[in-house]
Symmetry: C2
Subunit: 313 residues, 2 copies
């Protein structure tokens, strides 16, 4: 059932002993919003813990709080559009037990007892700030650091199309509350692992241009993962590189998975539609960012992809 | 003579036939603030042109306005801390004729008849927004695009230490006025020339690590400029790359100038002080970003730099 901000706030005020679930392969928004909400509930004198299927990545370590001991009563899902995104294990345990879902995906499946979904929010962190106001909870520096992390990571440091004037106003408010904006952005956007830096270098060396330089393709093989010491979990950032080159309308990153098959990430500039390129190959996505699975024959995979790109260029 | 915001606004309201000077090798703030102010003055019914010693880089082309014909009476310098920064030719013509200087450098030489200098402003664009309010000029979409460009470029897209809550509030206001934040950020931060992309790749290939990987050094030679087709004018972004690697406290970019000599850009993470490294070598700068000139012998230059870095690590 859909609730509004006041409804969600009333629900949170009326219950206790919270377990807050973040999505698997957690990012800065699910963790920042989850731990931010956890701190807000504790500030209200309630008990609350955060649960995530995966280990918390080191760069989000400072957001976390120690677990409290209590018997779980109320389940809140944060930044989770469908139960499967809680991940194996957590999903089976909680999929029919989520009391309140706080989300910003228009595709939210309304799987919880109550859902507050605001697709105009750049990050769930925007919703959590609004809840803090509604609940009259003072945003401490620690809460502000959590929510600023959510805001900045889900917007690529205020760069993506989802940023609105409200996003910037909330960032200002969180800085006023003590958020360490500079330190958070340095950690999230200006820090690469040495293995990622090595992979990025190999990836750039692999870049090829097609269609009069209007398409650039990076190819990452298993050998490159081995050579750099990197792995699939840290290579998401590479997908944005080919499109950065001036004149490139379609930037493609093809990467080999551990089973030997390939998958492609496609990024386009307007008016080229990435989802049209990928749906024809059995994939999907958004207008400027889409993806698809390819077979295990790289030459064949590339040819099929380039044919689909040629049709759109 | 120092003036406050009201004083600068009164000055602008009282005069006419403006020439607005931007600094040489212009960046987004001097141009965005210059053309933003030009549009504001024209909206007030005054005549105004912008002057810059260099050609306007293509990525700032949309900020410009056509020149008007009139006899220059009033000279305003924007984002210029000292007359020499106007560049050869412009400096000789105007250094003793600047009526009003609008700047945010604490080092401003107070060389103009009147100076409004706010070192707490992340960009001069912040000062121009305040002036527009003071002058009761409506910020149009075109003015907002100019000022948002200044704000975002001088803060590395809201990433640097100079960003305050006010910076974000002004960004929100400019978006409300119609600024195309997404398009501007895409153009300024997600677009590299093909020659720059090629240079970046060669630069990353040159990266060496020292002091247990706490120092990373990129070396760019004249041959690399030639091989990539790039040049010194577009390589500023590379200076941030070595420090991005996790664990690197000192990131160095050494680049060869056309005369064969080398210069170093040093970026540090706290607590390492970049200016201490560079002042010992005759250079200078800030705590986390400094630079120095080196001789024409690369091996010797590197050795001297590494010795200075070793002392700080």
């Amino acid at each position: 059932m859909v609730v509004d901000l006041g409804g969600a706030a009333s629900f949170l005020a009326a219950h206790d002993n919270y377990i807050i679930i973040c999505h698997e392969h957690p990012d800065g928004d699910t963790l920042g919003s989850g731990y931010g909400l956890c701190r807000i509930l504790r500030a209200m004198g309630k008990k609350a813990n955060v649960r995530c299927r995966n280990e918390i990545p080191k760069k989000f370590g400072s957001l976390t709080v120690e677990d409290q001991a209590f018997e779980e009563q109320t389940v809140v899902a944060v930044d989770i559009a469908a139960p499967s995104l809680m991940g194996v294990g957590v999903c089976e345990q909680y999929e029919n037990k989520v009391d309140l879902c706080l989300d910003h995906h228009a595709s939210n499946k309304d799987f919880a007892r109550f859902s507050l979904v605001d697709p105009t929010a750049a990050a769930v962190a925007e919703i959590i700030v609004a809840l803090a106001h509604e609940l009259n909870v003072t945003i401490t520096k620690e809460i502000a650091d959590c929510l600023f992390t959510g805001l900045t990571t889900d917007t690529g440091c205020f760069r993506y199309a989802n940023v609105t004037a409200r996003t910037h106003r909330l960032a200002a408010e969180l800085i006023d509350c003590g958020a360490d904006a500079e330190g958070i952005n340095l950690l999230q956007f200006e820090t690469k692992t040495k293995t990622y830096a090595a992979l990025e270098r190999l990836a750039l060396e692999s870049m090829e241009y097609f269609f009069d330089d209007r398409c650039a393709v990076i190819t990452i093989t298993k050998e490159m993962f081995a050579q750099s010491g990197s792995n699939e979990s840290e290579c998401d950032g590479i997908a944005s590189l080919p499109r950065q080159v001036e004149g490139v309308m379609v930037g493609v990153t093809i990467r080999q998975r551990s089973d030997g098959s390939y998958k492609a990430s496609v990024r386009t500039r307007n008016p080229v539609d990435a989802s049209l390129i990928c749906t024809g190959l059995g994939g999907g996505g958004h207008k400027n960012a889409a993806g698809c699975q390819l077979g295990s024959d790289l030459a064949q995979a590339k040819a099929a992809l380039l044919a689909a790109i040629g049709e759109q260029l």
